[in-house]
Amino acid sequence: MSVRGSGGSPVRHAAEPRPGAEEDSERLLANAFADGESWALEAGYLRWSPLVFTLALRRLGQHADAQDVTQEVFLKAWRGRAGYDPAQRPLPAWLVGIARHAVADRMSSRTRDSRLHERISSVHHELGDSGPADVVTDTLVVVDLLARLEQPRREIVALAFLEGLTHAEVCARTGLPLGTVKSHIRRGLSQLRQHLGASDATP
């Protein structure tokens, strides 16, 4: 059987398993958010405000600042929803992108406030704008995603990506056949990519 596509490039990506119910409901919510249905703001807030709030709290260390950032993120997201394309990014990835910037802005303005740290300020600003995504934010995004994955994908993704086990080791640990493990890993990687986004993703 030929797998050559009409554009001349062979099809390399194997078919991914059907998205689960959770993914369907997230997509529905993201589309409703982009369309400006007000219930979607409330539902999105209920679902992802803990993620946004916790990452702001971890990075900034102060409750009041983390509350301000959470408020800012959801207001910015709602007011700027015309610029959000649900087909390009999951809603939580978009919210986290806005949160990264809000946190970076606050950190650089904190540093700016202190005259003693003027030189550090410029360095911080650069890091905030173009530096690698920070590990704490990535970790929270991964934890939030894992919590919403259904079994057995949750366990397979944790074993393969968080612990770095090989396919054979994941099979041995879970007792699942190789084909099943492979397809969940493939789909899990795709979800990680969507939710973590590029290191320098802008909202």
Partner: protein, 217 residues
């Protein structure tokens, strides 16, 4: 490259031969770093919720927005921008009138009659109904606040209370809408405006979930 040898072999070989998936390597390494952090500090895995006043503040801010910029969904963005422009000019004239003025050349239509849109039952949807011009060619505008949230969409109808006849004028997107009244329709018979919530069920009939009603001005 650090971390490469820990990544699942299948994924690695895929990345090696597929240039479109080079980013995956970055994702794998970042996820491994997350795993390392979780092993060092398991407390990172617990998320905490913001206190209720954060949501209350968001709602307050957006309620203030409503009076300046309508929260129209993007599929009607052009209409929304017309409204923004209208709202700026409309500080004096009233935005419904400005809207009519930008869409009609006769200055006679610059006098709009208004009436009140009143919530029904437990609902909170309320607002103002404006009528510009007269039949044939009348234009009905709604300016609504506190729309009761729910799935589906909001639709605007004209109702003849005596016969139970209903005519759908269109979908209400955001807080404002402007609708051409069908030219042959007798507004002395169809003298009520009904705002309903409609499910996406493909059924064009009224859902019987009326949020608010008012008289045609």
């Amino acid at each position: 490259m650090a971390g490469v040898d820990h990544a699942p072999g299948e994924v690695l070989s895929h990345v090696a031969e597929c240039s479109a998936c080079r980013d995956d390597l970055d994702i794998i390494q970042r996820t491994r770093a997350a795993g390392d952090l979780l092993r060092r500090d398991p407390s990172v895995s617990s998320l905490s919720s913001p206190p209720p006043q954060v949501w209350e503040a968001i709602q307050r801010e957006l309620a203030a927005d409503d009076t300046v910029v309508p929260l129209a969904p993007r599929r009607t963005r052009r209409v929304a921008w017309a409204w923004v422009a209208a709202a700026v000019v409309g500080a004096v004239l009233g935005s419904a009138i400005t809207w009519a003025a930008t869409h009609r050349s006769d200055s006679a239509s610059l006098s709009a009659a208004t009436s009140e849109l009143v919530p029904l039952g437990q609902h909170r949807t309320r607002g103002t109904i404006s009528l510009t011009g007269s039949q044939p060619g009348a234009q009905l505008s709604l300016d609504v606040s506190g729309i009761d949230p729910g799935p589906g969409f909001v639709e605007v109808w004209l109702l003849d209370a005596k016969t139970g006849g209903m005519v759908a004028l269109g979908v209400l997107d955001g807080d404002r809408g402007s609708y051409a009244v069908p030219p042959g329709l007798d507004l002395t018979a169809y003298d009520q405006v009904d705002v309903s919530r409609e499910p996406y069920d493909g059924n064009p009939a009224h859902s019987k979930v009326s949020l608010a009603r008012g008289r045609v001005p």
